[in-house]
């Protein structure tokens, strides 16, 4: 079972420049909550941002990782594309 620290490291390794805060909110190693900031999210819809994170874990989501609650954002210092 992964730890919150392992989930964090995999997100940060999978998305260059990302910084993640991950919490195992049941303590059971299968329900995680992550806040991810990455410049790579700029110009992408929320769905695309979440997909970038989900893709790191592939079939583990819904398998050993029952839930990965996500909040994604572009880092504040990165200029964001205007939203339409």
């Amino acid at each position: 079972m992964p730890t919150a620290e392992q989930i964090k490291q995999r997100i940060e390794a999978g998305i260059p420049g990302a910084s993640a805060e991950v919490e195992d909110y049941t303590g059971g190693g299968d329900h995680f909550r992550a806040v991810v900031h990455a410049a790579a999210f700029a110009g992408r819809s929320r769905i695309e941002q979440h997909r970038l994170v989900y893709e790191i874990f592939g079939s583990e989501i819904g398998g050993p990782i029952h839930a990965l609650t996500l909040k994604t954002a572009v880092p504040a210092e990165t200029p964001t594309a205007p939203t339409v």
Partner: protein
């Protein structure tokens, strides 16, 4: 592996998505959600007053498998509006809280969260729908 040419479950899912302006694939039903994420998503939808169809993915594991393959989205629930994936629980909740959800569902007026807190909406505008029943 089943052949891509003949995939009645995926066809039924695609048809359900195109046939309904707003459709939620969830665990359980709007009246009896079987997962907290599905329950929260239903509550947010009901708070907007949107009418939505709901599909319980639990009766047949292939529904979830085919849905995720079709949508390129790994988790349940999944909300679609006008044939497009809106998001899962996290995105729907973010959109509800920011007031983006109702417009995304084609509603022009959204009750303010203060006036109509989540969970207080009358149960339910949802229209039940089953995929597995289309396979018999």
């Amino acid at each position: 592996m089943s052949s891509p040419e003949s995939n009645p479950i995926r066809d039924a899912i695609a048809e359900a998505i195109s046939d309904h302006d707003v459709i939620l694939f969830m665990k359980g039903t709007p009246e009896a959600p079987a997962c907290g994420f599905s329950a929260r998503t239903v509550a947010a939808l009901q708070a907007t007053g949107a009418k939505f169809a709901a599909v319980d993915i639990l009766p047949d594991p292939r529904i979830r498998q085919e849905l995720s393959a079709l949508s390129n989205w790994p988790t349940i629930p999944q909300l679609f509006a006008n044939g497009e994936l809106v998001g899962g629980c996290d995105i729907v909740m973010e959109m509800y809280e920011s007031g983006e959800l109702a417009p995304a569902l084609g509603l022009t007026e959204q009750p303010t969260p203060a006036a109509e807190p989540i969970g207080s909406a009358a149960p339910s505008a949802a229209q039940g729908l089953t995929i597995e029943s289309k396979l018999s």
